[in-house]
Subunit: 222 residues, 2 copies
């Protein structure tokens, strides 16, 4: 039975971290809202999940990106069997989730329900501090902690770097120079055959201004 | 061997969600930084954990509050044995973690590294939208999803309500009226003998203006 992924059909967003795992593993899955529209999510959003993405695997409904990847990791061969090592990877993935919230909040520091243009001054402040203080701290941490053994965490780190390059090309040029190990990890992931095929396919949505990673030149470094 | 919890020694913060689980279960643990100071965390913060809290259990170092509770839940009898049910509880706990970030960001929408007074205007905007849109949504979700069977998630929901009452007494008076089931859940948790003893002890730090839940009258409803 294929996995059913439920997520917004027009953005990469959080769902992309799950898509990368499913695609790299060659798993059978349906990207349900791209087939049936977003209303397919409604019946799950009262109780099974506070928000998307969530994954349906048989009768089991799993919300939260990191939890989905924890579940899929062992099943898809994207994590080792050791319980302790699986827990360690999960801790890394949860830290990536925190990092992603900070990326999102660079352009929406006040509220997701307001337009960017309504919170532009706050966004400039938040983005400047994110690029100066937080981004280098996350990059340095993952450079040390990621490890050399491939797992779903490497797929997510690939996606973070892709997204950050889209959103903050200038800042990333500066910061990547100090983190060649992480850049090499990114490049190794990009060269994985099934992943490369996915990235070149129509299934890979482009980055855009509705996703988590957005390019506003005024939020980047000059 | 006792568990070693590493967290800031002067605030409840994220560490409190772990303390509540350890205390309610009557587990042997050391609150390491309250015994040895915060420098005890240093050697773990390069690679094992991006931030505190983290838990040391034998040689295993577990970062991330929700992951710590996932690990402790089964060991301390605060979660059922079923893997699917444990995963469901973990999803709820991760959603509590997201909720907590939004609480924090009501007073620090621009950066944790700036003082509240430096981001007061943005905080007022963010807090107003949080109270009007997000808080009712989280409360309604957990009222439906929490379930009646006790688990560590109930301890965390107790803490959320305690914290929110401290931070936003006016808004909570309004919102709690619509969520009597969640309030009853809170009251049942508060009456658990070991937890009640902990709450009355010196080990329970008071809420204060350095934690995640802070009381700024201007951020509350009138």
């Amino acid at each position: 039975m294929p996995y059913d992924l439920y997520y917004w059909p027009t953005i990469q967003g959080r769902g992309e971290f799950v898509r990368l795992a499913l695609e790299d593993a060659g798993a059978a899955y349906r990207d349900v809202c791209r087939l049936k529209g977003v209303s397919a999510m409604d019946r799950f959003l009262r109780k099974d999940a506070f928000a998307c993405p969530f994954l349906k695997s048989g009768k089991l409904v799993i919300p939260q990106t990191a939890s989905i990847l924890f579940y899929l990791g062992a099943r898809l061969g994207l994590a080792p069997k050791s319980q302790n090592e699986r827990l360690r990877l999960h801790g890394l993935q949860l830290t990536i989730a925190d990092w992603l919230v900070e990326v999102h909040d660079t352009h929406h520091p006040i509220a997701s329900s307001l337009y960017y243009e309504e919170q532009r001054a706050a966004a400039r402040q938040r983005a400047a501090i994110f690029l100066a203080e937080r981004l280098p701290k996350f990059m340095a941490y993952f450079e040390r902690a990621a490890g050399s053994r491939f797992s779903y965490v490497h797929l997510s780190l690939f996606q973070m770097i892709e997204g950050l390059r889209y959103a903050f090309p200038n800042a990333m040029r500066r910061i990547e120079r100090r983190h060649r190990k992480l850049v090499k990890l990114h490049d190794r992931v990009a060269a994985r055959p099934r992943l490369a095929a996915y990235l070149a396919s129509e299934r890979r949505l482009p980055f855009n201004q509705q996703g988590i990673f957005r390019r506003y030149a005024e939020l980047d470094e000059t």
